[in-house]
Amino acid sequence: MLDQPDFNTLLEDYRKLQLRVTRFSHTEQELINTRDRLDQELVLYKRMSDFYSEALKCPDSKTLLALSSEAVVDVFEFETAFVLEQNIDGKDDAQLFHDGIEVNPKEAQNIIHDLELITAPTQGVGVIREKLNLRENLLALKHFSKAFFFRYTDVESGSCLVIIGLISLKNLPLYKSIDSLHDTIFKVFSQQVQSILGNIKKSEQIQQQIETITASELELKKLSLIATKTKNGVIITDSKGRIEWVNDSFSESSGFTLEEIVGKKPKDILHGSETDSTSKEILSNALANKENVELTLLNYHKSGSKYYNQIEITPVFNEQDELINFISLQKDITNEIKAKEEILRINSRFEQIAKKSQIGIWELEFIDNTIVWNDVLLEQYGSVKEEIKHDLVGFWRASIHPDDIDRVLKSQERLYAKELESVEMEYRIRRLDNGEWRTLKTLTICETDDEGNILRLIGSSIDITETKQAQEKLIASEEKYRKLIENMNLGLVETNLKDDLVFMNAPFFEKSGIRHPEALILGLEPERTLQDRIQKGELLSYRRIDEAVFEVEIENVKKESLFLLVSSGRVFNQEKELSGFINIILDITSEKQLTKSLENALKERDSYVNELDSLKQFYENVLNNSPAKIAVLSPKLNIVFINKLLEDQELNWKNSEGKAVEEVLKDRPEFLAKIKEAQKGNSLVQMEEHLLDKYGNDKFVLRNILPHLNEKKELEYLVISGVNITQMKEIQNSVITKNNELKKINAELDNFVYSVSHDLRSPLLAIKGLIHLIFQTTTVEPNVENYLRLAEDSVLRLDSTIQEILDYSRNARLDLSLKPIDLAQLVSTIFTDLKFSAPEGIALNMEVEGSPIIVSDETRMNVLLKNIIGNAVKYRRSIPDAYVMVKVFHTEEATMIEISDNGQGISQQSIEKVFDMFYRGTSESIGTGLGLYLCREIIEKFGGKIKVDAEWGKGSTFTIIHPHKVLKHE
């Protein structure tokens, strides 16, 4: 028997064993774990090494980055991965790759934004363990939960590399064991990527440099091509100025080839005797100082001909600032220079022309405000430069006429305001030397640059005083001709194309009584127009005489047919366009008639040609027996014939046939002069000769000297006839004397009548006044009152008789004195006067149709109207509506004054006699019987009439017909 083991001890041991086993299996598990991890690590490293071998083959950084982004997923088994490469400063050229594919820049933006938020500012490896979606501001990567990233910033190259692997929340449990392992390996991986990227980038840079160098080589080639092909000459010298190279253009313009001149100095071959020495000095100084120089130089061609060269020389330095070359660009500007010279020559020629044609020219430069006047302009202002040069503008303004200055300055202002580019003006200026006013026509032009700023004003000025005067004269003479035409016996009608009348000398048409002068406008087709007008009855007939000349028959207002010669012409305006028609019209009616009668006479003459001799005999007989003294002279003033009377009565003419009249009348120079006048003027000359007869008595002879013309209007002979007018003369003289005496007597008589009437009336009026007084101041017995009334009536009748006799005498003897008189005024004055004698019971009315003004003799008209209206009042009836009505109206020929009443009227047997002298209608008439007689006398003196229409007991109407035009009779 074993010792009875203690159970407890046994249990203890078991427990210990148990523990050991547990510990062992734990270790075993650990070992397995480690092995697994190492396995996994191995796998990762293996994958990594595959990636490296791939990565090293990458041709450029882009491929590498794409590959890396793919590799992060492949190697580490992240869910997804991004690789970002970008510059620190500018993020424009950022490149983002996602699982091996480049993300386009638009989509990349949000992701880059998120990557920056997640990784910055960490450098190296980082792990985000909390959920990304808890972070604010994430735009694209919100749904990821965990991230491994690597961020590396290369300060030297300024680039930043970000590599990130991401795991989403959903898949997080699958990646539980990833942590510790990945940390290190991810770091290694990232550093590897970064270093490979660095290498690739460097090689890329080198590649780029190589490319640049290649490109600049190309550029150089191009440049040398340009230098060769350019039209400008190019010379390249060494630092000493010796020619190394020239291009073809230089050879062309200078004539030298490169071979000929290489190694020589340009100045030795190009400069010649006429090359400007100052320019040469500037050139060599600049070269010595190694400076840029630009100038124009006269150069010589190989052949010796000259040309202008614009030269620009540039020194070329190497990097050590040593002078290595001069490059000289040359341009042949001979043509430009010549053109410039030509312009100068033209300018001076223009100046010459301006001077010769007296055009004043001025220029105002705006930059420096300088003004230049040419000599002509100074001359126009009558000044010398020295006098006014200190203030040309002030002088100019002071010279302008005060009436013009405002207008001139205003125009100038508009020019300054750029409202106008040029201004044309006319104004007056006062010359400085003689104070004379002259008129200038000026043109001012404003020159501006491209931006519209005023550069200068240029002006020209012409003295047009004389032209202006001539123009005014022309206008005046035009007026004169117009008047002349108007008074000429020649018709002119001008119309425009619309047939409106433009001009017509009315007097011609009034005189000839042509109603429609425009019917004579013939227009473009005269014949057609004429036919039209004949059809319309405006013209009677026409006959074509010349291309544009027609003989037209037309009827005037007096129904006479007129023959007109119408010449149709066209009017052109300044642009030489047809603007109207002008017709010249000649009245040939009388010529036409003359021609006809002449034709008849010619015919007659032909038939009588055989009887010429007997005709001559007949005329001689007639002439010899004529009561006139007749002489016939040849055109050369030899006496051809004298009649017997002349030969008998005037001694000079005795036996004078065949003699020269000059000899015959040598003691009668006046007579001789008249004969010559008739000979020269081809028209009738009359004279009155005062002679003494053989008894010494006065004798007057009237001489007619008639030139006789043949058909060709040549003088054939002069016929002198003389008539003794002594008796006639005596009678005439006595008539004139008697007439004068009569006039004197008339005037005296008028004076006499005036005084007598006054002297007769004065006491009469005194009596009238006294009777009035008696009635006013005292009460008289009825029969005395009756006597006094009768006395007053007698006084009144005597007074009116005196008045009428006075009026009658006046009318008979005094001349008419015509002036415009107002009938309305005259009648109303008469009405007022009459109211005193017939104050009540009659209405006085007047009606005037048209103007109340007529031209007449006021005194006579007053007497006439006073008499007739007075009668109407005097012979009124005592009825309630008694009236007198005066009506004035006008007819075509006369003014009618109608005086009607409803008075007593005139009986049938009286009506024919009312206008007779001293006729009195009734025994109750108060008048003299002169009144109406006087009225008729007066109106007949005016050339008018008076009519009466009346009925006994009903009323009468007197009508005065007063002609519009009263004729004065001597």
Partner: protein, 135 residues
């Protein structure tokens, strides 16, 4: 009280006129002149002594010595301030229109009246203030 001066060589006419005036206007003071020269002298003296000229002058045209028109010429040469309140009426037996026209060429003439003046004419003369061609 109105002052009147009558100038007429016909003394009967003066009598008729002065009576008519006084009859019509009881307080009127009327002076009659048969001689136009004396009338003028009186007016001149009145002016020299600083007296007041009459309100109305009735003047005949046809008179010996100086006629009515010559009277007017002299009268209008007197100082304006003394003559301006005087109205002259031509009283005449002339019917000649030329006389009437001539009369109105003088500023101081207010009317042209045919003799004799009646009470009716006088009433109109005294009530008028303007120059009138006819009464």
């Amino acid at each position: 009280m109105s002052k009147f001066i009558l100038v007429d060589d016909d003394s009967t006419m003066n009598l008729v006129h002065s009576t008519t005036i006084k009859y019509h206007k009881k307080d009127a003071q009327v002076m009659e002149f048969k001689s136009s020269l004396l009338a003028l002298d009186f007016l001149k003296e009145t002016v020299q002594e600083g007296g007041e000229l009459p309100e109305y002058i009735f003047l005949d045209i046809n008179m010996p010595e100086i006629n009515g028109f010559e009277f007017l010429q002299t009268f209008e040469k007197l100082p304006k301030e003394s003559t301006q309140s005087t109205k002259i009426f031509m009283i005449t037996s002339s019917l000649d229109l030329r006389d009437r026209e001539k009369a109105f060429s003088f500023d101081s003439v207010y009317g042209f009246i045919c003799k004799p003046i009646t009470v009716r004419t006088l009433t109109e003369i005294l009530s008028t203030t303007e120059r009138r061609m006819d009464f």
